[in-house]
């Protein structure tokens, strides 16, 4: 009988934590899932935008790029609830293109178990498995907004095609960003966490991990976590392994707050924690049409143009249609011609026409040039992610194309937004080169045994499609590795 409380403690329940929790629980392992957000389920989700923003989302956190001499900031909007980002995402399920795998190997020397460069083929069975679990299918029920946008893009020679989505046929198009009220959206909450709970996993919601617990016996090892539970009490759990899946903004902070440098020494890989942060910097171009579209009554991103994804071909991904699913979020992001957030009479007139807008989401191939860290003096969390001249060129090309297509599709005018992101990644990369990564190709820390990372942090270089499916596939891969090599003894339970 092990003296450990759990076989595995998983910090976070989104794309990274969900599949892993399920697979380990299914294998009879004793699993604790510690989640900073609340445990809400289908019956809690409705279209009360303000309340759902409070319940399910982190308050937007902004970059502080002005500190490093860049003028533009990015609003980083993430999920904070059981299911993480997958409870509030738009459910686009995209496999990483082959060229991303090559870039990953170049970035960190990520490899397979035979020591060969890690390839798409390596991840395919895990993609297959996640797609089966989550009902991934082509989403062809396009709304009027997307049809109009596609008319314009077809005229300029770049038609949209349907996305693959984590959405079953039950979808009645009543919203994604504030939780799915029908369970049609198959995020980790419904596909993995609740099934894991039925298999014995324990979820600790509203609980914030303050540090990882280490032992020094026979080299540095993770042996548990300390966290503040939902009653505000400091609590310690011990386990055979600790897996951080708190997202690319939180995972590096947990590592840094845990004093990893003290236990592991000032190694090259410790120095990599929080570096190489990428976000797929995004913006939206909205078009105002004469017709009433009521474009919030949709699955928001049903179609895409992928031909410009690769950095050499433009470096931007276009997805549509998007109108933020509610007037409050829409009012917050829209800007004037100089990029200044709108207010006053002009904004009100735009809001009066809210029913007439449909938009295109632009995600660019940005660089792994950001950083997540804690200010040494104030201890405040900090996010640097420059919007470079190269980034601006990509946005400029994409915006010109979107505006041309919107006008060709019948829009009367167009509107821009602030920079934003929902695709944080890269801040604790995986790879064999420990001077450029934090975890190895199995996702175990280079420095601390029994410490793993399973979220978007590990993506070695910026992914050019929506990251959820890839993070879930890596999570499944980690589960297989752990069950074969680490947790293959008799369960603590």
């Amino acid at each position: 009988m092990s003296s450990k409380d759990f076989d595995a403690i998983i910090v976070g329940s989104g794309s990274g934590g969900g599949p892993l929790a399920y697979e380990l629980s299914k294998a009879g392992k004793k699993v604790a899932i510690i989640e900073a957000g609340g445990f809400y389920t289908t019956n809690d989700f409705n279209r009360f935008e303000l309340l759902q923003l409070r319940k399910l989302w982190w308050k937007p956190r902004w970059t502080q790029n002005y500190e490093i001499g860049y003028e533009d900031e990015i609003g980083l909007g993430m999920g904070r609830c059981v299911g993480g980002g997958t409870t509030i995402f738009t459910a686009v399920a995209a496999r990483a293109p082959e060229f991303n795998f090559k870039e990953w190997h170049e970035a960190t020397r990520i490899q397979n178990e035979n020591g060969e460069p890690f390839s798409q083929e390596e991840l395919s069975p895990f993609y297959d498995s996640v797609e089966r679990d989550t009902n991934v299918r082509k989403y062809t029920e396009w709304d009027d907004g997307l049809k109009k946008i596609n008319t314009g893009f077809t005229k300029i020679g770049h038609p949209f095609s349907p996305v693959n989505a984590f959405i079953s046929e039950k979808c009645d198009q009543s919203g994604c960003l504030y939780g799915c009220p029908t369970e049609a959206k198959r995020g980790t909450l419904v596909s993995y966490i609740i099934p894991a709970v039925y298999l014995g996993a324990q979820v600790f919601p509203n609980s914030t991990v303050t540090k990882i617990l280490f032992s020094r016996e026979n080299g540095p090892k993770a042996e548990g976590v300390e966290f503040t539970n939902e009653n505000g009490e400091a609590t310690r759990f011990y386990s055979k392994i600790v897996v951080l899946a708190a997202g690319a903004m939180n995972t590096p902070l947990i590592l840094l707050d845990s004093g990893i440098e003290e236990i592991a020494g000032n190694t090259r890989s410790v120095d990599q924690i929080g570096r190489n942060f990428a976000v797929n910097t995004a913006a939206i171009v909205f078009g105002r049409f004469e017709e009433v579209l009521n474009n919030w009554l949709i699955h928001p991103l049903s179609g895409h143009v992928t031909e410009f994804c690769q950095k050499e071909k433009g470096g931007f991904l276009l997805e549509a249609s998007e109108v933020m699913e509610g007037p409050l979020s829409f009012s917050e992001v829209i800007v004037d011609e100089e990029g200044i957030p709108l207010w006053g009479e002009r904004q009100k007139q735009i809001m009066k026409d809210y029913r007439h807008y449909a938009g295109i989401f632009i995600n660019i191939h940005d660089g792994n040039d950001g950083r997540v860290f804690r200010d040494p003096d104030t201890k405040m969390e900090k996010f640097h992610k420059p919007v470079t001249q190269e980034d601006k060129k990509r946005f400029s090309s994409a915006r010109v194309m979107c505006k041309e297509a919107l006008l060709a599709g019948g829009a009367k005018e167009t509107l821009d937004t602030v920079y934003l992101s929902h695709h944080v990644q890269g801040s604790c990369r995986m790879g064999e080169d420990s001077s450029r990564s934090v975890v190895d190709s199995t996702c175990e820390s280079h420095d601390i045994k029994n410490l793993y990372i399973a979220d978007g942090s590990v993506i070695p270089s910026v992914l050019d499609v929506n990251p959820s499916l890839t993070i879930m596939a890596f999570s499944k891969r980690l589960a297989k590795y752990l069950l074969s090599n680490v947790l293959n003894d008799v369960s603590a339970s």
Binding site: P327, E332, G344, Q347, K348, K352
Partner: protein, 179 residues
């Protein structure tokens, strides 16, 4: 509901509250938000604005529920913007002419050191209207009606405002202040 003329500042003597007082806001902060609300979501004949729907009571209640570090951030932001208004335009923000107030907002958005603060202050004012909030006594058009936001799972939504200590849902006509 204005209650912004200070006889004395209203320190954080929570949670007691009278009609013209605030759960959280000091009179100076209330004056700032009242001015800001009139600029961000202005009202006019036949078109409600944030002040018309009683948005100041929303802001007051919303700030009350935030962690102290965030409350301090908002209070600090107001102080900082009043200070900058005074140093750049010769008066605190609420006392500026309307054209100067708009010019000040523009400067605050352009200045990287105040941009995030300004965005957050603007956001809470936008919330006080476009979230569909309206004070219990208000019977006119709301933010969602103004924008035409409606449809399945929206039009029949009972919005529970109890988390703001203001009132219970959008179909209730009387106040349920839980002070």
């Amino acid at each position: 509901m204005e209650g912004i003329e200070p006889e004395s500042d209203n320190p954080r003597n929570l949670p007691s509250r009278k009609e013209e007082e605030y759960y959280f806001l000091t009179n100076e902060e209330a004056r700032f938000f009242s001015t800001l609300s009139g600029l961000i979501v202005p009202g006019k004949e036949g078109e409600p604005g944030a002040k018309d729907v009683g948005g100041l009571s929303y802001i007051d209640s919303a700030l009350l529920d935030l962690p102290k570090i965030v409350q301090d951030y908002y209070s600090g932001a107001i102080k900082a913007l009043n200070f900058l208004s005074h140093s750049k335009f010769g008066n605190r923000f609420p006392e500026l002419q309307k054209s100067e107030q708009n010019a000040a907002l523009r400067e605050f958005f352009l200045d990287q050191k105040t941009r995030e603060m300004m965005f957050d202050l603007r956001s809470i004012v936008l919330e006080s209207f476009y979230s569909d909030y309206h004070a219990p006594w208000y019977e006119g058009k709301t933010g969602w009606e103004f924008t035409g936001f409606s449809g399945k799972r929206i039009s029949d939504l009972k919005k529970d405002w109890t988390f703001l200590r203001v009132w219970k849902d959008s179909t209730t006509s009387s106040a349920e202040n839980k002070s």
